[in-house]
């Protein structure tokens, strides 16, 4: 039991309610041209800071959502936590275990099997050559949860029923299902690994609204039944409002604000969060004009100095352009903004 020896070196977080703690997480991608081009064209290395100094905590049984526009790094955070990427810097602590610990490979795998992921594209996330039964049974085989073939089949049937499909559907291939049904299969596969923590990367953005509501309802129901914790990645603020207990807003690889859902939506602090909320279409037909956000997201290869939002921010001053704001707590909200900090913006 060398594994336990590794764990004890890590201090449990003071708050046992916390399941996942992400600290100063960073991931850079090298997008440099090939060596030959760099030599001849005399260009240097180019690095995209997809995720840069992100810290947050997810409590047990919570749904923590990350929102932001495309390219803000929210999906990269999900992939870092689930282990598809190695962090460039920072730490991820899952249930008191530092996932980045050296020499704890087998143990890390043990921890990683407690989390599962649901992907965005229901057409690409299921192997088209596998029968649904085999797709759903894969985590069972990988973790050796059951070995008897009949038992595996019974378990797969049970999972199919839980996600609203019929056990008979196991015999079919993915292409025989609609997008919504495929996403149910994806969820069943995730549940087969008996996870505590589910990472959902835009699970409904490829679906039609009427099907989206089915999947969202199913996910809520499963969360209650199995006491799951969710990390929910989405660009749709209305969906995020509906599912989350806590919301984090990302911009250009940074977490600019995170707070409890009601607090964030009712009293947004960061100017970017305010802009996003103002840009939501008005479905109530109240006549509220949506205020378009000015400008566009800059390239993450050469992000602006200081606060990454300052070129688009109506409250920016010299300090915003020079100094990078850090997350601080103001009235239950973690926010990284000089204007809020200085009281220029409340």
């Amino acid at each position: 039991m060398t594994d336990t020896a590794v764990t004890t070196t890590d201090a449990r977080p003071a708050d046992a309610r916390t399941l996942v703690k992400v600290d100063d997480l960073a991931r850079y991608f090298d997008v440099s041209p090939p060596l030959l081009n760099r030599l001849i064209e005399r260009t240097g290395r180019a690095v995209v800071r997809a995720v840069d100094g992100v810290s947050f905590e997810i409590g047990r049984g919570e749904t923590f959502s990350l929102v932001g526009e495309s390219g803000c790094g929210k999906s990269t955070v999900a992939r870092l936590i689930v282990g598809l990427y190695r962090p460039t810097d920072g730490s991820i602590v899952f249930d008191g275990v530092d996932m980045g610990q050296p020499g704890a490979r087998s143990f890390r795998q043990g921890v990683q099997s407690r989390m599962q992921m649901i992907f965005q594209d229901p057409y690409a996330s299921l192997n088209p050559r596998w029968r649904v039964t085999n797709i759903i049974a894969e985590p069972i085989h990988a973790r050796r949860l059951l070995t008897d073939k009949a038992e595996v089949n019974r378990r797969v049937g049970e999972l199919l029923t839980q996600v609203g499909l019929s056990p008979k559907d196991g015999e079919k291939y993915p292409h025989e299902f609609s997008g919504g049904q495929r996403q149910r299969i994806s969820i069943a596969r995730a549940l087969a690994g008996e996870p505590e923590f589910l990472i959902c990367d835009e699970p409904t953005s490829a679906l039609d609204v009427s099907v989206q509501s089915q999947i969202l309802n199913l996910m809520k129901e499963l969360q209650r039944s199995f006491n799951l914790t969710y990390l929910f990645i989405s660009h749709d603020l209305a969906v995020v409002y509906h599912v989350s207990t806590t919301v984090g807003v990302m911009y250009l690889g940074r977490l600019v604000e995170w707070a409890e859902t009601k607090t964030l939506f009712n009293r947004p602090k960061h100017p970017y969060t305010r802009m996003l909320l103002d840009a939501i279409p008005d479905l109530e037909m109240t006549g509220r004009q949506r205020v378009p956000v000015a400008g566009e997201v800059p390239s993450p290869i050469n992000p602006p100095s200081g606060c990454p939002f300052h070129p688009r921010c109506p409250h920016a001053n010299a300090r915003c352009a020079a100094e990078r704001p850090v997350l601080r707590v103001f009235d239950d909200t973690h926010v990284a903004c000089h204007a809020v900090e200085e009281g220029r913006l409340s």
Partner: protein, 317 residues
């Protein structure tokens, strides 16, 4: 009871598979193309002829005792002096050409299949590894493939053939000749498979189902073989078909040059080599019939390959 269940399950599976095949787009596009159907028919006839050569041929051309030198240079049946005993005539040894072609196709096809299988094994493994692992492994494997591709493949075949012959103990050459030819031809065509598989692997690797398998905790080898491999097999099949035609031709070339299979067990290429000596002395049939058989076989297999490429390409559907 259990046994019955099992067998009925197998029957059910087979029926299901057959149903899926006859209902598929591939089968539909097959039925829609007359050329392909003819090509498939020709290929099938040649396969069966080669497979059942001992049953179909009037003579065993590999058995020197069965040959009658007095019957040498008998022309085909419709030429004066020919007879039904030797339908397509005989060669300089009195070998019945019809039998020789059947047996010869057997060797040509056998060598072709074996060589392609060997190339597939090498190429798919190399391509999967290069595509999935990436980095230095990828660079190394693909540079080797590039270098090999930059030489004409027949040169590579001759080179490998020569090296293998040099390494092997003298006196066993004839016994091992077939294996040497298979290895030489197979080794010359692995880069194509590697390139294709690598390309498809790079695409598949980034699909979410592969990421899902990684999240589930599957080992890279399992992911490569069980997830990626089945999804890259489409283009491989196309290349395999076309490579089969090329391999048959390469074998014929080697045999024609005299470095292929031994003349005691002639393949189509050997027959053509023997025949070309007599082309201008009037015994044209010795070279024409094996040559035509080779041309038709290669053309048919190539046409099948072309069709398969179009049928598996969703853009052309």
């Amino acid at each position: 009871m259990v046994a019955i269940d099992h067998s009925s399950g197998v029957v059910h599976r087979a029926r299901d598979l057959a149903h899926r095949f006859f209902d598929s787009d591939i089968y539909y596009s097959f039925r829609a193309s007359k050329v392909t159907m003819v090509a498939a028919g020709v290929t099938a006839v040649m396969f069966l002829g080669a497979l059942f050569a001992p049953l179909l041929s009037p003579q065993n051309p590999f058995d020197p005792a069965a040959l009658d030198l007095l019957d040498a240079f008998t022309p085909p049946v419709w030429v004066e002096g020919g007879g039904w005993k030797y339908m397509l005539g005989t060669d300089d040894q009195g070998r019945d050409l019809f039998s020789a072609i059947l047996y010869g196709s057997r060797i040509s096809l056998g060598v072709g299949f074996a060589a392609v299988l060997f190339a597939m094994l090498l190429g798919i493994s190399a391509g999967l590894l290069a595509g999935y692992v990436g980095g230095k492994v990828d660079a190394t494997i693909m540079r080797i493939a590039d270098v090999q591709i930059s030489f004409p493949s027949i040169l590579i075949v001759l080179l490998i053939d020569g090296v293998l012959r040099g390494v092997l103990p003298a006196g066993r050459h004839d016994d091992l000749a077939l294996i040497v030819v298979v290895l030489a031809i197979g080794f010359s065509s692995w880069p194509q498979f590697a390139r294709t598989v690598r390309g498809s692997t790079l695409v598949e690797k980034n699909k979410e189902y592969v990421q899902a398998a990684r999240v589930i905790g599957r080992q890279p080898l399992v992911i490569m073989l069980r997830h990626v491999l089945p999804n890259v097999m489409g283009p491989v099949l196309v290349i395999a078909t076309i490579s089969l035609a090329v391999a048959i031709l390469s074998e014929a070339t080697l045999s024609f040059l005299g470095v292929g299979v031994p003349p005691t067990e002639p393949s189509l290429g050997t027959l053509i080599r023997i025949g070309q000596d007599f082309l201008f002395s009037g015994e044209w049939w010795i070279v024409i019939f094996p040559g035509a058989t080779l041309a038709i076989l290669v053309l048919a297999v190539n046409l099948l390959g072309d069709w398969l490429r179009d049928a598996l390409n969703p853009k052309l559907r």
